[in-house]
């Protein structure tokens, strides 16, 4: 009886782990695919799947020969005992011993290729070229019909990376600073309209930002803020502030009142208390929200597309352009996507614990 309970437990453990491993593999394969692809030579990316870098059996060309001039290519053609029409030869004829013979090119070439299934080992021709191409932004110059020289700039992902930093770092710090001030005000200072203002902030938590895009863009065009970093910082501050204020308020309002009161008795001003006391004490809450906001900004596509557009392209826009319009630079697409993911992955994996804490506190956001 005891033994059967033990084996039952063991089999339960086995199935638990088995299901989890299967799910984890399903979750990882897509990422593996582009990681591997990003290191393959561009020609290979178009011609074969990324999984072919692993050992596998494949049709390999083993021989080529010319068909005798006397054979009539319009009628049935007999080669090595098999008879078939030209079109069938062109598609390739399978032999019983595993070989395949295929006509190369049009009728006049009279050339045939012999393939055989063979084991192919690990691909060894992996390269960093896709990365250097996409980062450096190869510039192509050519002459058009009228003889004008046209310069086409490549996708300068290195520049886009810098732009993303320029958006994401202040875009994270500015709203946190503003929200921390506001949270302190709401938590510890008394002023008329305090309740109604905070209720409005709670209501704004899940307002979709689409509501703001059209009016704000009109303002920006009038003010000349369109396409500027200042414009996108303000926009991200606006969209991030309700959650930031709400989270930091929840945290700051639970700090022990006695600390503040004794500081007040010592004659400290609100500003001093805030900068010297509250900010250092709130670091955990600030960090959680900072990670949240940073990832959000780094991965944001819509806001950057609307307010920055072509000017000061961010990485998401640069990658989306590679995927969308050109759509054919598969080798660049993967390396670009991977570069765009490195920073959030590092931030995410190293600071996961803080991030999770922020996520739990803020799971009301829309």
């Amino acid at each position: 009886m005891a033994k059967s309970a033990k084996t039952q437990k063991r089999s339960q453990q086995f199935w638990t782990n088995f299901i989890l491993i299967v799910i984890c593999i399903l979750w990882l394969v897509p990422i593996m695919g582009i990681l591997i692809t990003s290191f393959r030579p561009s020609q290979d990316v178009f011609n074969s799947g990324w999984w072919t870098i692993f050992p596998h059996r494949e049709q390999v060309e083993v021989d080529r020969f010319k068909l005798d001039e006397s054979v009539d290519v319009d009628g049935p053609i007999t080669i090595e005992g098999k008879t078939a029409t030209f079109d069938e030869w062109r598609t390739g004829i399978q032999f019983e011993d595993g070989r395949m013979i295929q006509w190369y090119g049009n009728k006049r070439t009279r050339e045939l290729i012999v393939y055989d299934k063979q084991w192919v080992g690990f691909a060894t021709d992996l390269t960093l070229k896709n990365y250097s191409d996409v980062l450096g932004g190869k510039t192509i110059t050519y002459k058009d019909g009228q003889g004008n020289t046209i310069t086409r700039y490549g996708n300068n992902l290195g520049g886009a990376f810098l732009n993303s930093l320029a958006v994401a770092i202040p875009g994270t710090i500015i709203p946190i600073l503003i929200a921390a001030f506001a949270a302190y005000g709401f938590a510890w200072l008394n002023f008329p309209g305090r309740n109604i203002l905070f209720t409005i902030i709670v209501a704004l938590l899940v307002v979709p930002l689409q509501i703001a895009l059209v009016p704000i863009l009109q303002d920006y065009v009038k003010m000349g803020l369109n396409g500027t970093f200042l414009g996108i910082w303000l926009a991200h501050a606006g969209f991030g502030l309700p959650l930031a204020t709400y989270l930091l308020f929840n945290y700051i309002s639970t700090l022990p009142r006695e600390i503040l009161e004794s500081a007040f008795i010592d004659g400290a001003s609100n500003f001093t208390i805030f900068t010297k006391l509250i900010l250092p004490l709130s670091v955990p809450a600030l960090a959680s929200f900072a990670i949240f906001q940073f990832l959000w900004l780094w991965n944001d596509y819509l806001v950057a597309l609307v307010f920055l557009g072509e000017k000061n392209k961010t990485v998401t826009i640069a990658v989306a352009e590679l995927v969308g319009e050109k759509g054919q630079d598969w080798h660049l697409m993967t390396s670009a996507a991977f570069i765009s993911m490195i920073l959030p992955l590092i931030v995410f994996l190293s600071l996961q614990r803080y991030f999770v804490r922020g996520l739990m506190a803020g799971s009301v956001k829309g």
Binding site: Q12, L189, I211, L230, S269, V323, Q352, V364
Partner: protein, 374 residues
């Protein structure tokens, strides 16, 4: 350290106060003007700069972050210069004012501006009455987006939460819990655009023909099993489900993390008691764990439902909304920036707002319940 600041508040003699007032006023004017000029110069530098990009970016970061901090310091300094009753009356607004102003400009006021805009013509030329709303609720394009968003909402949310719950429960019993959870959570850190690239390599289709080797994983599997490759993202209406899979891949980690911590809060004695009474694991899960974490499940479902309502990036990057995959947020983008029909775009934004209103009301109710300490 905290005592150094009380000089501002010290009640000076009335005469000395009066004699220094003029100087004070001058300084009070001078400091903000200098601040403003410094910030304005920084802005102009960034506008025209020909410096290498990295220099520009560093200057932009310092200017942006430093500028905001400077504005607070100066505003606070100014308020403290005022006579005592005024300074304590105004100081709270130094703290909350900027936040209120920015939220007002970027979220609260736009609600009304979009509402007004939704009754206007193309490009806001004249009044359109209810035309934009008639478009929003009857046009076949819009009906398609409603159908698709409903699919995203129902299937995307259901599977994200179901997988999240399954993994959370299973991982809780495994010794390698942290590893499993990290792997499932990782896609949550990726951008939807990046995820789009990743999944392009799964769904891509090269066509049927001589010597073509599929480079998309799904088609390779299908051909390996003897099927014919399919252009997955062009098959209406199934392509919607292929896009929803991407969302599930991204969002399951979120659901898992939140639900996992809730599951850890279920008292072990309760589960143990159920097991002793002979309840199977599955029964114990549905009769004890699920009711116990009901509140968390509702939160997670709400968050993912709101997410699925606003889904945009995945559709934009993968299909552009073609072949019957359009969604509300993409139609908003098209109306607003491709067809420049601001009226219709505003009406669609209002529809989105109305769709999340129940959540707003729920949040406010919860807040009112908890605000006793406010």
């Amino acid at each position: 350290m905290l005592k150094t600041h009380n000089t501002d508040n010290e009640p000076g003699g009335i005469i000395s106060w009066f004699s220094s007032t003029l100087g004070q006023i001058l300084i009070s004017l001078f400091v903000p003007i200098v601040t403003f000029l410094v910030l304005w110069q920084g802005y102009l530098f960034l506008q025209r700069a020909q410096a290498p990009q990295i220099v520009q970016v560093i200057v932009a970061i310092i200017w942006g972050v430093g500028g905001v901090a400077l504005l607070y310091v100066v505003a606070n300094w100014l308020v403290l210069k005022l006579p005592k009753p005024w300074s304590s009356r105004l100081q709270p607004f130094v703290f909350v004012g900027p936040a209120i102003a920015i939220m007002g400009w970027f979220l609260a006021v736009p609600v009304f501006r979009s509402l007004i805009g939704s009754f206007r013509n193309r490009l806001g030329g004249g009044w359109a009455g209810l035309d934009n709303y008639i478009f929003a609720f009857t046009n076949p394009r819009m009906l398609e987006t409603f159908r698709n968003n409903l699919l995203w909402m129902v299937f995307g949310t259901f599977f994200s939460v179901a997988f999240g719950l399954l993994i959370a429960v299973l991982a809780d019993r495994s010794r390698a819990e942290v590893i499993y959870k990290s792997i499932i959570f990782t896609p949550y850190a990726l951008s939807f655009v990046g995820a789009g690239v990743i999944w392009k390599f799964i769904y891509t289709y090269k066509g049927i023909g001589l010597n073509i080797q599929e480079i998309g994983l799904l088609n390779a599997i299908v051909t390996g099993l003897g099927g014919t490759p399919q252009p997955w993202l062009n098959i209406t209406p199934w392509n919607n489900f292929f896009l929803i899979v991407i969302m599930i891949w991204l969002q399951t980690g979120y659901a898992m993390v939140i639900l996992s911590s809730a599951i850890k809060g279920v008292p072990a004695e309760l589960l143990e008691a159920a097991r002793i009474d002979g309840a199977s694991e599955v029964r114990a899960f549905f009769k004890i764990t699920v009711p116990y974490i009901r509140g968390t499940i509702i939160t997670v479902v709400t968050t993912i439902v709101i997410f699925s309502l606003k889904t945009f990036d995945i559709v934009r990057v993968m299909t552009g909304g073609n072949n019957g995959t359009n969604v509300i947020a993409n139609e908003f983008y098209l109306q607003s920036f491709t067809y420049t029909h601001q009226g219709r775009a505003s009406a669609i934004a209002i529809v989105l707002l109305v769709l999340v209103t129940p959540v707003i009301i729920y949040n406010l109710r919860q807040f009112n319940k908890e605000r006793k300490g406010f």
